[in-house]
């Protein structure tokens, strides 16, 4: 059942109002107005989102709300419109985006209280919310791509928010470019879909239309399309090989990291795969690729997170790792599980970042965990909320992370990816380890804080702590909507999503609870190791680092991937562009030919000019040459 629902337009309208307000009036009307309008519009959007969600709930399963804004692109026979739609999947996403977004906006009021550029900040933030909502509300791939690139833009702008620092600016650009590489794949993916459908006389990118005409796809075409789109997802959701931008993105203001680089934008790839689940289901090998990339990324990023000392970097790699989980989930066919993890992750990772932000804020900008410690007393609320988040991400029941991660691992196992399941489980242990390492280094033990900073250290103001508390509650109990089937109310979440993303049916018999217990055990082992190394024997990590120096350096240098890209892509590109193309081809070859022609003409002119010696008899001689030529020609004609 599809119902036209005008309020969908309003969901977009309010963030847009926010953007315009902050852009044009923000700086003039002052901080007070910005602080109200900035978060306010998102809260309104949140309320509208709840309304739409309630509407969906009240309608039969599988219903969707639709609202066409206007016809958009038509070219040849191809046609897409600017249309919005909400079904179960996007309803969940809208709530995540507006809900968490609203609280992070609120938090930002406090976090950005001392920044002169607050109006610009909220402009970007509201713009981000707008783009993200377009992304999740889009009723076709192309419009989704508008949001997709829009959030990328906002990410770029916000990473480079403190533009005076050239490194920050560089990181912003790096994010945008990495995303663009993925987006190129995304575009090709869309084109493939259009071509396949168009071949059958269908010229649209509408999700519903694609779904209805799945028959036009062969396995090959579906695989190609899915893989290309997934390339886009690896960019946006920071998976191998395009993840490199995300850790560097942490130089942006922390609320940005929380909202964009943890809770919402980076999960867009997962959302896209889930949204196109029907297409992916046609392409088992593409699914396999998605799952494998997800699992490998999860492990890979987790290992790097172990040795990082920058609190936000740890969280960044953790995010990449968790995103890997989500892809493992959707790649295994457990789409609901993936989205479920998107949600819980949004709670706890958003919270983790906000807490980290609170710490950084409290310490006047310090991000190095080796210069923290013992902050438990100074920032109690931050500590407690962060503890909840850490437990949640470490997948300890009954906190939310446990349920979603469990569902994903079950999916991986159930779809027959046994190897990937093992990677997932190991990663769970690593997650527990590095997260508690972070917690211990920050809040426990002796304070290693610069005394100057410690002097000013303080708990954050309520405007920041309230969002912490709200999110902490969500992180704690948010997973209860997706309990294992047969336990209390069971898996409400998957049932709700089922009409949209289908139900996961295992191909391999799963040993049920045993799987959960194994994963849980490994997580706890990770936590215990963290406790041993950072509370019980704090000297030990240094010893290990010293002993396994090669491995330690490898991890610390993030497997040298940045350097690798630099060596094989960036430098050759510049070298070729400058020396071969610009100087070699353009200046030397082409312009050389052009100018050479000119010079040759002038030179021959200068030479020919010498025939005009001024001497009459030379002239007569030249004349005679002409005479001889003509006479010879006519004699030739006569003789012939």
């Amino acid at each position: 059942m599809t119902v036209e629902f005008g309020a969908l337009g309003l969901i977009l309208l309010f963030p847009l109002i926010g953007v315009l307000f902050n852009l044009f009036l923000g700086a003039r009307l002052g901080r007070r107005w910005v602080n109200i309008v900035g978060p306010g519009v998102i809260f309104i959007a949140f309320a509208l989102g709840i309304w739409a969600f309630a509407k969906i709930l009240s309608m039969p399963a599988g219903s969707e709300l639709h609202y066409k804004l206007w016809d958009w692109i038509e070219g040849g026979s191809f046609h897409v419109e600017f249309g919005l739609r909400i079904d179960a999947l996007s309803a969940v996403m809208v709530l995540i985006v507006t809900g968490i977004g609203a609280f992070i906006h609120l938090y930002s009021d406090g976090y950005m209280a001392h920044d002169a550029d607050y109006a610009r900040f909220f402009t970007y933030m509201n713009l981000f919310a707008l783009a993200m909502l377009i992304l999740v509300l889009a009723d076709n791939l192309l419009m989704m791509f508008v949001g997709w690139e829009g959030v990328g833009l906002c990410s770029y702008l916000l990473i480079a928010f403190w533009y005076s620092n050239p490194e920050f600016a560089y990181n912003g650009r790096k994010a945008f470019i990495a995303n663009r590489v993925g987006d190129a794949g995304f575009i090709l993916g869309m084109l493939t879909i259009i071509a396949v459908l168009g071949h059958g006389g269908v010229w649209s990118l509408d999700f519903g239309t694609i779904h209805r005409h799945l028959g036009l796809f062969t396995t090959t075409t579906a695989t190609v399309a899915c893989l290309l789109l997934f390339l886009g997802a690896t960019g946006k959701s920071a998976q191998i090989p395009l993840y490199v931008w995300l850790p560097d993105a942490m130089v942006g203001p922390t609320p940005v990291s929380a909202l964009i680089h943890a809770a919402t934008m980076v999960t867009a790839g997962v959302y896209m795969v889930a949204r196109l689940n029907f297409l992916y289901m046609l392409a088992p090998s593409a699914m396999m690729v998605v799952a494998t990339i997800g699992a490998v990324t999860a492990l890979f990023a987790g290992t790097i997170a172990i040795v990082q000392s920058d609190i936000k970097k740890v969280l960044a790699y953790s995010t990449i790792s968790q995103l890997g989980y989500m892809f493992l989930g959707v790649g295994s066919g457990a789409f609901a599980a993936g989205i479920f993890h998107v949600m819980t992750h949004a709670f706890f990772k958003g919270l983790l970042f906000l807490c980290a932000g609170s710490v950084i804020h409290g310490l006047g900008g310090e991000q190095d965990m080796t210069r923290m410690g013992g902050l438990r007393k100074v920032m109690p609320i931050t500590f407690w909320t962060m503890l909840i988040a850490t437990i949640a991400i470490s997948a300890i029941p009954p906190f939310s992370g446990f349920f979603s991660k469990d569902m994903i691992l079950a999916g991986a196992y159930g779809s027959g990816h046994f190897g990937l399941w093992i990677i997932g489980v190991i990663t769970a242990g690593i997650t527990g380890f590095y997260m508690f390492r972070l917690l211990f280094l920050t809040f426990f033990g002796e304070s290693r804080v610069d005394p100057e900073r410690l002097h000013h250290a303080h708990e954050s103001p309520p405007v920041m702590t309230i969002p912490l508390i709200v999110l902490a509650i969500a992180a704690a109990i948010g997973g209860w909507v997706g309990l294992p089937d047969g336990f209390l109310w069971g898996d409400l979440f998957s049932r709700f999503l089922a009409p949209t993303v289908g139900t996961f049916t295992p191909t391999v018999a799963t040993p049920g609870v045993l799987l959960s217990v194994i994963a849980l055990a490994i997580s706890i082992v990770g936590i215990i190791i963290a406790w041993v190394l950072y509370i019980w024997m704090p000297g030990l990590p240094y010893l290990i680092a010293w002993r396994a120096k090669a491995l330690y350096t490898l991890l610390l240098q993030k497997y040298y991937i940045d350097q690798f890209y630099n060596l094989i892509v960036t430098r050759p590109l510049f070298f070729v562009s400058n020396w071969i193309l610009h100087r070699g081809v353009d200046r030397f070859a082409i312009d050389g030919t052009v100018n050479g022609t000119g010079i040759a003409l002038e030179t021959s002119g200068a030479i020919a000019r010498r025939s005009e010696t001024g001497n009459i008899q030379h002239y007569a001689f030249i004349y005679l040459l002409g005479v001889i030529g003509i006479v010879a020609y006519y004699l030739f004609l006569v003789m012939r």
Partner: protein, 499 residues
Amino acid sequence: MKPLSLASINFAWLPILPLIIVAVAAMVVLLAGVGVEDEESEGLGWLTLASLGVAFIFALGLVGGTGVAFAGEIAVDGFSAFFQLLILVAAAFVVLMSLDYAGENRLSGAEYYSLILFSTLGMMLMATAGDLIVIFLGLETMSIAVYALAGMRRRDPRSNEAAIKYFLLGAFSTGFLLYGIALIYGATGTVKLAPIHAALSASMAGNPLLLLGLGMLLIGFGFKVAAVPFHTWTPDVYEGAPTPVTAFMATGVKIGAFAGFVRVFMVNLGPISTHWHAALWVLAAITMTAGNLIALVQTNIKRMLAYSAIAHAGYLLVGMTAAAAYAGSAIMYYLIGYAFTNLGAFAVVIAVERRGAAAGDSISDYRGLARRSPALAAAMAIFLLSLTGVPPLAGFVGKFYIFSAALRSGYVGLVVIAVLNSVTSAYYYFSVIVAIYMQEGGLGHPTLSTRPALAAAIGLAVLATILIGIYPEPYVSAASSAFNSALGAGFMHMTAMLH
């Protein structure tokens, strides 16, 4: 041999009335000028102008005529009328731009203006001739007068040198032309054009006298129209001669020469065009190319315009190569536009020159002209653009017409060469524009306000260059009906043959 019968001669005076007027005027001016100071020759100029005007009016009356007069020595047709009119206009422009110049440069007015009239007479005679000998006479009348004109600045060694070079090479060349006439005479038994044409129709291919005669005629005309390699005199003479005379040589002489050339070759030797178009093809190609290449490196504007004139002769030869009715009218149209453009350009050269000296002819003297004298600069820019062949100016339509004709006759290669040459020529024409508009420095302030006649000449030339370009229709029809009338009823088969 027929006995001479006065009745058969057909003394039709009316067709040669313009010639008579010009001839009489030449003598009147010469006589009237006795005792007139060199600085005060303007009156004589006006007299000359008036007589040219009268001749123009009578020449207008010839339009549409057909037939021959004086036993075929004089051709009475649109072709002659067309060229007479054009030559008269060119001469009038030259007089107009000489009015101040002659006084300023102390040229002896009586001789100067009468020589102009005499050479005009020669040109008109060439255009009107129905006989090779009359063409020869016309050519010599024109040339001898112009030799003297080139040396009018008697105390200027450069002017002397121009005159002597022109004279010697001209006389040398006359020998070839005459020899050619003699050979043709030997081959066909006549020097009258119409009977030659008739004789050719009875196949004479391979006649050695005819072919060699053809070659010699080519050489002779080639010299007058400044085709490479018979062009060598052109730059030196153009540079050394007084500028109005240069203008006259670049336009009047060239028009007159082409009038004869076209009439002899395209009209009367048309039936054997297979025997001359290959030679003309080569001449056209090297003329365009050499002219443009050497023009690239010139620093003196008159010399540059001389090479440009050579190049334009090349374009005209492209038209001749095409050898057809449409090509004939293309050439004639081209000459109209070419005449006005070049007259205008030389008028600007006169305006920029320092009075009484040859200085001011360097292209670098044009630097900053746009600031000092915007109108003059704009006029020069328009002339140069027209010479380049930029639409919608006269030069463009002319080139278009010529290229069309050549393509229609199938000379794709030649047109490509011409096109590439046009591009080359853009470089040096535009270099002058660069000097005028984009560089600073140069000579002092040229004034037009004290030389109203010169200003009028430039203004009229600008107007003509633009008008002929954007509204070519009447000129095109004039040219084509003129040429067709020369072809006449008896020659119609030529068009058919060329299709």
